[in-house]
């Protein structure tokens, strides 16, 4: 057991990061055109071939990177599906979403038209576009037919680890913005980075984010307790984001600033993947 990322993971993460930095839109929602570029670069199929040596820990590294961007792509679910199922490369290049249980529903988060949805055994599920949850403006969720089998067992455990890593990426994004904001925003004649209360909020956000990252890594190594790790990981990532929003003051609440995307994404993921007490 090692908690460190492997070479493949570091390489993929670096390349995916470059693509997302250069192309990804800043609007929340699933960004098809960015996915196109990633798929063409071969990043969607890389986990499907065992010879490439991509481990779950490596997927986490990529998941964290992808969580940092407000737009979503099916990269993580595609990488996971490539690990788990016999899926042909064409399907992987189209992008894959997977079916999760949420309460008594089965849902596919981050789904958009054109993505293939796989059920818990890797078989495709037909999705009506009308199945989109109307409430989920920022992190689209498709409600699947009730008969769909949802992900379970080790696959669910791996998905939990990967999506806690996505949540850590969300926290990374909000903390980075909070740091920037603290260096430009003036209050009472000084930038707010001078206030120890703001500085300690940032420190506490960092502590929570690092702990969440540990939870993601632990989840990858300890599948039997993945539900507990997911609960802790999402909760810690959320705490980091809450603090980052508090640092922003009132502007943290406006749609335009866009912090809600990250918070809401973590809340949604938690409702699907976190184990309830």
């Amino acid at each position: 057991m090692s908690t460190l990322v492997g070479e493949v993971g570091a390489l993929v993460a670096e390349n995916v990061s470059e693509v997302l930095e250069s192309t990804a839109g800043s609007e929340p929602g699933v960004d098809r055109s960015t996915w196109q570029i990633l798929a063409e670069g071969g990043w969607g199929t890389i986990s499907a071939d065992p010879e490439n040596g991509m481990e779950l820990r490596d997927v986490l590294e990529v998941a964290r990177i992808s969580g940092r961007h407000p737009c979503s792509t099916p990269l993580i679910t595609t990488l996971l599906a490539g690990r788990w199922f016999e899926v042909d490369d064409d399907t992987l290049e189209d992008g894959v979403a997977v079916a999760f249980a949420r309460g008594d529903q089965v849902v596919a988060p981050f789904w958009t038209e054109g993505l293939v949805v796989l059920d818990g055994s890797g078989s495709p599920v037909a999705v009506e576009p009308s199945a989109m949850e109307s409430f989920s403006l920022v992190a689209p969720v498709a409600v699947l037919p009730a008969s769909t089998s949802a992900l379970g067992g080790d696959h669910l455990a791996e998905a939990r680890a990967a999506f806690v890593a996505v949540a850590v990426g969300c926290a990374d994004a909000v903390i980075a913005r909070a740091i920037d904001w603290s260096q430009t925003r003036e209050q009472f004649g000084q930038t707010i980075k001078g206030f120890q209360a703001v500085r300690h909020h940032l420190a506490n956000a960092h502590i929570a984010r690092e702990q969440a990252w540990t939870a993601a890594i632990a989840a990858a190594h300890d599948p039997e307790r993945s539900g507990r790790w997911a609960r802790q990981g999402f909760s810690l990532a959320r705490e980091a984001i809450e603090l980052g929003i508090q640092v922003h003051g009132g502007v943290g609440f406006t749609w335009e600033v866009g912090l809600q995307h990250f918070l809401d994404e973590v809340v949604q993921l938690d409702s699907i993947l976190g184990e309830r007490r």
Partner: protein
């Protein structure tokens, strides 16, 4: 003579009066079909409620009798808020006028301003909003940058206000503007009463973190305010604003938040987190908040060290509601998932508005514990 202790017989009598009146005065539709009303019907019930308050004598509870009020104190106000929230009475559009604009004009306005504005605030015919917050000012209210330029007979106002409730319904706005770029901080602001129904006033709703549009941004471009609508001395608006804000905080706001917290914590205890220690602890904190409000109200009525309470109450109710909604998310009952997600996201703003919780803690150390910096 207003009530100073809840154990006076007068307090119980007043509570009965209010409770009976609220039951009678509630708009029919509100009582019977609140859940299915259209937005237009809700608005019309809110306007009806403004009128009912006036006719029932509840519009100016704490206003002096000479201005049409009842001359009551904080205990009567709290009793009114408790009973009206218990009955789920609507929130009228006239709140800012009754709670902020009216008391400010009474305290600092001219006789002409009193004669012109107070009656229409009381009877609900003119809705007011407040223009204090600005995107660039944040917690540092004294750094507002909306300007008022002196012109013949008045001022031209230019700039932007934010987080303005009721802006789209308002006839008037009480606002703080920068009237001098040379005078020192706290002596460079003026307090104006602005007519919102003019060209150059542009109200744009703000879409919040939970997708709702509760507040607006308001843009002002060369909007005229007559000299007669200056409150207090020119450039001394900061002093006037401090009066308004000390009204804004405190027991009244806490009492309405207690109602909100109670609904949430009841739901947790009844369903989503039933039987958990977490829910029991929140219920203990809710009950403590209730007693803290009662205690603060009596201390205020008795003119004990009242200054203290506002900041403590603000921190208490905001953190209580944030913790309750977080537990709602975490306890994860499927039926109420949407409810908790909505209220959780909305509650994130509570530690920021009405003075951030960091500012409240600064106030406590600075002014209550009086530890110099």
């Amino acid at each position: 003579m207003s009530i100073t202790r809840f154990d006076e017989p007068a307090a119980a009598e007043f509570r009965e009066d209010v409770s009976a009146w609220v039951r009678d005065a509630l708009p029919d539709m509100w009582r019977t079909s609140r859940a299915v009303m259209t937005p237009e019907e809700v608005q019309s019930a809110q306007r009806e409620w403004d009128t009912a308050l006036y006719e029932g004598g509840y519009a100016g509870l704490a206003w002096p009798a000479e201005y049409g009020g009842r001359g009551f104190g904080p205990i009567e106000e709290l009793i009114y808020y408790e009973e009206s929230s218990r009955a789920n009475a609507p929130d009228g559009f006239g709140r800012i006028g009754r709670v902020l604009a009216g008391p400010t004009i009474i305290a600092a306005g001219t006789d002409a301003q009193k004669a012109k504005y107070l009656p229409r605030i009381l009877d609900g015919s003119e809705i007011w909003c407040q223009g204090f917050s600005e995107p660039g000012a944040g917690s540092d209210l004294a750094s507002v940058s909306t300007t008022a330029k002196k012109v013949d007979g008045g001022y031209l106002v230019n700039g932007q206000k934010i987080w303005t409730s009721f802006a789209q319904y308002s006839k008037r706005c009480l606002m703080l503007v920068k009237s001098s770029s040379e005078l020192p901080r706290h002596h460079n602001l003026s307090f104006l009463l602005l007519d919102m129904e003019q060209d150059g006033v542009d109200v744009r709703p703000i879409r919040q973190i939970n997708g709702e549009e509760e507040f607006s941004e308001v843009f002002f471009t060369d909007v005229f305010v007559a000299d007669d609508d200056l409150v207090g001395e020119e450039h001394e608006g900061w002093r006037v604003a401090m009066t308004v804000l000390s009204n804004e905080r405190g027991t009244t706001e806490a009492a309405t938040r207690l109602v909100e917290a109670t609904a949430q914590i009841d739901l947790l205890g009844r369903c989503c987190a039933a039987g958990s220690d977490d829910a029991a602890r929140l219920d203990d904190r809710r009950e403590l908040l209730r007693w803290h409000i009662l205690r603060s109200t009596e201390e205020k009525a008795a003119e004990l060290d009242w200054f203290v309470a506002g900041s403590i109450l603000k921190v208490q109710w905001s953190e209580l509601i944030q913790d309750a909604t977080r537990l709602g998310l975490d306890s994860g009952c499927a039926e109420h998932r949407g409810y908790w997600r909505h209220h959780y996201l909305a509650s994130k703003a509570m530690s920021i508005y009405s003075g951030t919780n960091e500012i409240q803690r600064n106030i406590i150390t600075d002014r209550v514990l009086r530890v110099a910096r």
